[in-house]
């Protein structure tokens, strides 16, 4: 049976739920081996966190270079494992770090790369939604080992518990991969809310908030949602740029996207129109975003959201 590698995804010491998604997609192609790259002495702890989804084996490599030299060190070791294992494909989480690791690994191994896949089939065809989700593309890598980054939250993951075999191997990170040094790392400040691209629900605010995100945040919190913002809102300095959804910001594809006071320029749509269900609240009945809303409310978000927030609290109790 063919072998498929996934690069285990961690935020700090915590394994993300993306691992089960990567494993589920990879298992369609072949037997899944998760590559766990851990700080020296931490391999067992890191590996034990990779316990969901169809994972047959884990390869652990320990090195402090992964944290202190970042992308280059990770790509160095991943490429060595690819060369040794000759997998039929490699799947990596599609975020900034994962895409950069995939990029360098592709160059090192002479392999084609596809990023931002929302699905991968048994014959290693990747599905992508391009041009802001307006076009579906199927692509295949035609050279080397297909290296595919898969967007978090896209694959319906099997989360059955797995008991993979664990093998720790020793590999050296070359000096060429230590040209950039990380001196300090701080996890993102999220105030307890889920990460925007991983969240099942995203509640966003735009120009219509007039800079007051409290109603948006309260509604997000009652739903356990991440908070997003339109470019107009981040440009005005009302919300951090890291929360911007759209063409020049993040692309999200949650189960539910609630846009509040966002008119819906193509720039914003590009970042959210693949959401499964879209709710739009806007005072302006002509707001273009209503065209793609599954449920639209013409009304003042400061009147509608507090009532909806109370309604959800009542529904839960």
């Amino acid at each position: 049976m063919s072998k498929v590698l996934i690069l285990a995804d961690f935020v700090g010491t915590k394994a993300t739920k993306t691992n089960a998604e990567l494993a589920t997609a990879a298992a369609r192609i072949g037997e899944v081996t998760a590559v766990v790259l851990a700080p020296t002495g931490q391999g067992t702890i890191y590996a034990s966190a990779i316990n969901r989804g169809p994972i047959a084996n884990i390869i652990v490599v320990e090195s402090d270079a992964f944290a202190s030299n970042g992308v280059a060190a990770v790509a160095d070791v991943l490429a060595q494992i690819i060369t040794a294992q000759s997998p039929s494909a490699v799947l990596v989480a599609s975020h900034a770090f994962g895409k950069e690791v995939a990029a360098r690994t592709a160059v090192k191994t002479g392999s084609g790369i596809i990023t931002d896949a929302v699905d991968v089939s048994a014959d290693i065809t990747a599905t992508q939604l391009v041009f802001g989700g307006s076009t579906t593309v199927h692509s295949k890598v035609s050279h080397g080992t297909p290296i595919i980054t898969v967007r978090p939250n896209s694959v319906d993951a099997s989360t059955t518990e797995s008991t993979p075999s664990i093998e720790t191997i020793s590999l050296t990170v070359s000096d060429d991969s230590k040209k950039a040094t990380v001196t300090s790392s701080q996890p993102p400040v999220q105030g307890g809310r889920p990460e925007l691209t991983e969240a099942n629900i995203v509640v966003s605010g735009g120009r219509g908030t007039n800079g007051d995100f409290s109603a948006v945040e309260n509604f997000a919190d009652v739903l356990g949602a991440a908070v997003g913002a339109s470019r107009a809102a981040t440009d005005a300095g009302w919300y951090p740029h890291s929360h911007q959804v759209g063409q020049t910001g993040k692309t999200v594809s949650p189960q539910l996207y609630v846009a509040n006071g966002i008119s819906g320029a193509i720039q914003h749509r590009a970042g959210m129109q693949t959401s499964k269900t879209i709710v739009v609240v806007n005072k302006d009945p002509e707001a273009p975003l209503f065209e793609i809303a599954d449920f639209g409310v013409v009304g003042d978000l400061f009147a509608v959201l507090p009532k909806a927030t109370e309604g959800i609290k009542a529904h839960k109790s």
Binding site: E100, H143, T181, V182, I292, F295, G299, A308
Partner: protein, 261 residues
């Protein structure tokens, strides 16, 4: 310092984009300098200005490098009008449909010949949105990768570059020695508008146009191929209610019916 800025001409991000024969149709759409590359141009100019400027005979030069069809000269000229010293455009019919690997190979060859201390890029192009070319360049050039920078500090005396890297994974402080490949995030600066003087000066500057043979790279086929591309059916609008004081409750009811809460 010799600073290179890699830029790309892209379809206007407000324009409707289409695939033709598996590649993006660049002919029938307005083309502009990639929004996110303007921050890279600005940052390069600011670094040069902070360390002696980039005037004729000054201690720094800023060169803009691009790959694309001949009409990409428009985007390159925009960078020139902002105050960049010179420009190299690699244009060759064999490069149509080039993927990120091919693009990075071509750019790396040009950069290597030029012997640059710093290579500055935007984080992504607004058309392909892969965010992989800066990392590929660092790999190919064997240079320090300092990407997703929200802050860049350069010390020419010690050849040291320090950045603050901002991604969804958090905030990192990083540093490396020349040569470095830097990508800068949106909002690292406020890109300048070209001055009238700058626009006039840019018109007079010649763009060094090179084909693949001159660059010294043989034609590279794309290593990932599009099998098919289909426009997704437009999303139809669903229910639309006007708030009469009960819209909040109606919304909750809708979410409950859809089992979203």
């Amino acid at each position: 310092m010799k600073i290179a800025v890699c830029v790309k001409q892209v379809p206007d991000s407000w324009a409707e984009k289409k695939m033709v024969n598996g590649i993006l149709d660049r002919e029938n759409v307005d083309a502009v300098l990639n929004d996110l590359d303007e921050y890279a141009v600005e940052e390069a100019l600011r670094i040069a200005e902070a360390h002696g400027g980039n005037e004729e005979g000054g201690s720094n030069t800023v060169t803009v490098i691009s790959m694309g069809p001949e009409r990409a000269t428009e985007a390159v000229r925009k960078a020139l009008s902002m105050g960049v010293n010179d420009a190299i455009l690699v244009t060759d019919p064999q490069l149509a449909g080039a993927d990120a690997l091919a693009t990075s190979a071509v750019l790396a060859a040009v950069i290597e010949k030029g012997g640059f201390d710093l290579v500055i890029c935007g984080t992504e192009s607004t058309d392909a949105r892969m965010s992989v070319v800066p990392a590929m360049l660092a790999e190919r050039l064997n240079a320090a990768q300092l990407t997703f920078a929200s802050k860049v500090a350069v010390d020419p005396a010690t050849c040291k570059v320090s950045i603050t890297r901002v991604t969804e994974a958090g905030v990192d402080e990083m540093h490396g020695q020349f040569p470095c490949v830097i990508s800068v995030v949106e909002k690292i600066n406020e890109p300048r508008y070209p001055s009238f003087k700058g626009i006039m000066a840019a018109k007079k500057k010649s763009i060094d146009s090179r084909d693949l043979a001159t660059v010294g790279v043989s034609a590279i086929a794309a290593w990932s191929l599009v099998a098919d591309a289909t426009p997704r059916p437009a999303r139809a609008a669903g229910i639309k209610v006007t708030d009469d004081g009960t819209a909040g409750e109606q919304l909750v009811k809708y979410l409950a019916e859809k089992k979203l809460i």
